[in-house]
């Protein structure tokens, strides 16, 4: 197999690069070790914020790419047809001492080219956030901050990239990078060798390992663990903006924010760990998140009943502290896009532009495509959106859109089938594309139905349906099988 550019990693960074490159006449491949886009790591579990761009130290790559990415997301989200809400963010000072930090952040914002920041106080602040801690003294308001769903974005980017000719290889893990005469030649994967003139390493938590395979050992990636909790949509409206405490030296602190889908999430914690696969939630983490969340919004302390889920995200924290986006004299053709921690989601479209520039500079001929298709058709969900006329039209064409399978999120069979036809093969894949199972009952009612629909659409047995990988079968045994085996024993 041969491509001009091979991207390693199907997270938000890899898919954004793939989609950007798909605007040009060039052969592109993308490999992802997991069975689906966005399954790997940071993309599926983060705070889902499009940051304004005032946090990062001026002069860093993050400081340059974040504000640019913020601007690019408006057009990108509309082309991809994914929900994106610019709800604005507030960094909340809970004491007069902290107001100084707000001023510093505002200065930083100016240096980074984020000019529209303002400090709000008193009545204005409490009007913006009626449930904010009464001790809040002031807030740094950034109107350009927003929220979107990162996995939905990565999936949409991958779909659109595919529409424009990108080959995507799922379940394909890079096991080696082949370098000859100082040039990259190919990657070896568990499935096949894929030849490429350029290899773009967007492997998230594992970017240091892929980089080492190419002989570049200049950095390490440490997983920085962040725990989150998700609240029921019942709490929709308890906060209106992305709320941050004043930042700590290693993190932006525990935030409380509405999600683009109408839930509230709180988190993350920030603890450096060693295991890149450690996605375990903990009691102490939960307590830490609750404490942080209640500091901003005290009412949450009596709303434990509204918690519907907890999850963990790992940020790929590079030893260099900044994004690593560069190519090398040796091996030539190898581009690292590593250490894409926060604000990686925000920066992704700007990172993609930068990677295109690097590839051009390094000799890749990029001629724009005449027939680039920027628009992606979304999965229609008129029932969830409460759009009766659209629903009527769709149901008359396809009655499956009138059959609600997930009661909590109002997801119909039509949407689930569409998600499977677009590439979902697992329960989580359906969930990330449609929200079936993401609501307050967490799949209690819809799981058996969704399993049946997946089995039917993919032509596999119910026993073969998995949650997210080959080893995560949901119903490994039929009733008969277990009884028969019992007799044999």
């Amino acid at each position: 197999m041969e491509t001009s550019v091979l991207i390693v990693g199907g997270g938000i960074t890899g898919t954004a690069i793939a989609r950007e490159l798909s605007k040009y006449e060039v052969d592109i491949g993308l490999v992802e070790k997991e069975v689906d886009i966005a399954f790997g790591g940071p993309t599926k579990a983060n705070t889902a914020i499009i940051h304004a761009g005032y946090d990062d130290k001026p002069g860093t790559l993050a400081a340059k790419l974040c504000p640019r990415g913020n601007v690019l997301w408006s057009r990108l989200a509309s082309e991809l047809n994914i929900p994106f809400k610019r709800i604005g963010s507030l960094v909340v000072a809970l004491s007069y001492g902290e107001v100084r930090v707000l001023k510093e952040l505002m200065e930083r914002g100016r240096a980074n080219g984020v000019g529209n920041l303002k400090i709000v106080e008193g009545k204005e602040l409490s009007k913006m956030e009626p449930n904010l801690n009464e001790e809040a003294v002031a807030g740094l308001y950034a109107p350009s901050a927003g929220v979107l769903s990162p996995y939905e974005a990565a999936i949409a980017l991958a779909e659109n990239a595919k529409q424009n000719g990108v080959s995507i290889f799922l379940g394909t893990k890079v096991t080696g990078v082949i370098v000859e005469d100082g040039e990259v030649k190919a990657v070896q994967t568990n499935n096949a060798r894929i030849y490429a003139r350029f290899i773009v390493n967007a492997a998230g938590l594992f970017a240091d390992e892929i980089s080492s395979m190419a002989g570049i050992n200049e950095f390490k990636i440490t997983p920085r663990k962040g725990e989150y909790i998700v609240y029921d949509k019942d709490l929709n409206g308890i906060v209106n903006h992305v709320l941050f405490p004043v930042p700590t030296p290693i993190s932006k602190g525990i935030t409380v924010t509405p999600t683009v889908d109408g839930n509230i999430i709180a988190g993350p914690t920030a603890h450096d760990i060693e295991d890149k696969n450690d996605l375990t939630t903990t009691f102490t983490g939960l307590e830490e998140v609750l404490e942080g969340a209640c500091k901003l919004v005290p009412e949450l302390s009596i709303r434990h009943d509204a918690i519907i889920a907890g999850f963990v995200g790992l940020r790929p924290q590079p030893t260099t502290e900044d994004f690593i986006i560069e190519s090398y004299r040796e091996p030539s053709g190898f581009v690292n896009v590593a250490g894409i921690k926060s604000p990686g989601l925000t920066s992704a479209p700007a990172i993609a532009e930068m990677v295109v520039d690097i590839l051009k500079r390094d000799g890749l001929t990029l001629k724009g495509k005449d027939d680039f298709k920027p628009f992606r058709k979304p999965i229609a969900h008129p029932i969830r959106d409460f759009h009766p006329t659209k629903a009527e039209r769709l149901i008359s064409k396809n009655p499956e859109y009138g059959h609600v399978v997930c009661r909590c999120e109002y997801v119909t069979e039509g949407e689930i089938v569409d998600s499977i036809r677009r590439g979902a093969t697992t329960l989580d894949g359906v969930k990330y594309r449609t929200r079936a199972g993401m609501g307050r009952c967490q799949g209690g009612f819809c799981t058996p139905h969704t399993i049946r629909i997946i089995a039917r659409e993919l032509g596999i047995s119910v026993e073969e349906v998995t949650k997210r990988s080959d080893n995560s079968r949901v119903l490994p045994y039929s009733a008969k099988q277990l009884l028969l085996e019992g007799e044999e024993e």
Binding site: F311, I395, G402, R440, S472, Q481
Partner: protein
């Protein structure tokens, strides 16, 4: 879009909804529609293939499917209209209902009276905040039961069950009967949550019961591999060094049911934070006129027999209301639960006629008394959270009731 006017719309075709619709029909209303979101009538009962149903209502020991099929048959025979696989999307205080299904699309219904009978849902792992990984193999008891008894799959071979309520105990037996190894039933309280007769399920199969234990960690990255449980102290905190890691491939959660009132909340119907259901008066009418409620949507019942009876009250009164035969309550006395009483239903009574109140206690107690207001005392030999405590307001007792707008229902426990 289909637009219809109906006298009574029943939301939910489980035990409560079926009984309500039948009672409404028997009391003279013909224009009735039952809306059910599943593919069959009966709610959870078709998957409850164990016995123990109907002991009170039919004086017979029936399985869930046997119990509910009697009502389903009656509904079919009486010609009451049912629409299956139909989801109610919205309900207004003016009793306009927006619903959808595959064959008819969207429908707008104007009901003279609405009977809420949406039942309840189970608490998920997320709501329980159990730490650990998020592998396949974690099921709520109801989901596991459906998978086994409707879909014909056994969700696991080595099973740990969380929660010793009736559902948890019955599922322990169900898994054991299917050939799975049930590693234990874990209960945070110092006493089992289910009825005595269901504890037999564990004794019969030698399944250990871990009282005063909590699940404190789930292991396994793809599929459940083990669950750590910890002994709890008197304050409910886990005791360091008293953990035990139990190897299993499946964790079944049976840790609480939540009345499913999303529609009620969206409509603006007032709920009781203690029950999680609408506040109802003795006619099972909510705070919104002509909207009635019954069954597990009001509070979580122990026995389907009571759900049926309550459905009949709601259905009868909804019919009387439609026919103009339900005079308003002369007095509206609101009852407030206190002390060891967690809640009492109905929350509004008139004291015009004898009535049975249902209450749930927080902790078990012996030789105790329930006080209603200052004048009424009801002695109870044993009370426990697993069993609803009934308070019979006989004509005699009602005479003693004070002329107050609010009364407390209290139980002191030493």
């Amino acid at each position: 879009m289909i637009e219809r006017r109906l006298d009574i719309v029943v939301i939910g075709g489980g035990a409560a909804g079926l009984a309500a619709a039948l009672a409404a029909k028997e009391n003279g209303v013909d224009s009735i529609l039952i809306i059910e979101r599943s593919e069959e009538l009966g709610g959870v009962l078709p998957q409850c293939i164990h016995t123990g149903f109907g002991l009170h209502y039919f004086k017979e020991n029936l399985t869930g499917p046997e119990y509910i099929s009697r009502f389903i048959k009656k509904v079919q025979d009486s010609g009451i209209e049912c629409t299956l696989e139909t989801m109610v999307l919205n309900l207004t205080l003016e009793r306009q209902i927006l619903a959808v299904n595959a064959s008819q699309g969207l429908m707008k219904l104007q009901a003279g009276a609405v009977i809420l009978a949406m039942g309840c849902r189970e608490r998920s792992r997320g709501a329980l905040c159990i730490p650990g990984t998020r592998p396949a193999g974690i099921f709520t008891a109801g989901t596991a039961q459906r998978l086994m008894d409707i879909e014909g799959c056994v969700p696991g071979r080595k099973v740990l069950i969380l929660g010793s309520g009736d559902v948890g105990l019955i599922m322990a037996r169900r898994f054991a009967m299917e050939g799975a190894e049930v590693k234990g039933v874990v209960e945070v309280m110092p006493f089992p949550g289910g009825l005595d007769r269901n504890l037999q399920c564990l004794r019969d199969f030698g399944i250990p019961l871990y009282l005063r234990h909590a699940a404190t960690f789930i292991h396994g990255s793809d599929r459940v591999e083990a669950v750590t449980i910890s002994r709890l102290d008197d304050k409910g905190q886990s005791i360091a060094g008293e953990e035990k890691t139990i190897e299993c491939d499946t964790l079944v959660l049976s840790a609480g049911l939540i009345p499913e009132n999303e529609l009620s909340k969206k409509a603006g119907i007032k709920l009781d934070p203690k029950t999680g259901g609408p506040l109802v008066d003795e006619n099972m009418e909510t705070y919104v006129e002509n909207i009635f409620a019954c069954g597990n949507v009001v509070y979580v019942h122990d026995l389907v027999d009571h759900v049926t009876q309550e459905g009949e009250v709601a259905g009868r009164n909804a019919a009387r209301k439609i026919l103009g035969n339900l005079p308003p309550l002369k007095r509206r006395i609101s009852l407030k639960a206190e002390g060891n009483i967690r809640y009492v239903v109905p929350q509004i009574i008139s004291a015009e006629r004898p009535l049975t109140l249902y209450s749930r206690v927080k902790r078990p107690a012996f030789n105790t008394k329930i006080m209603m207001g200052r004048n009424i005392t009801v002695h109870k030999r044993v009370v426990k959270p697993a069993e609803l405590v009934t308070i019979e307001l006989t004509a005699e007792r009602l005479k003693d009731l004070e002329e107050e707008e609010k009364l407390t229902v209290n139980m002191d426990t030493q």
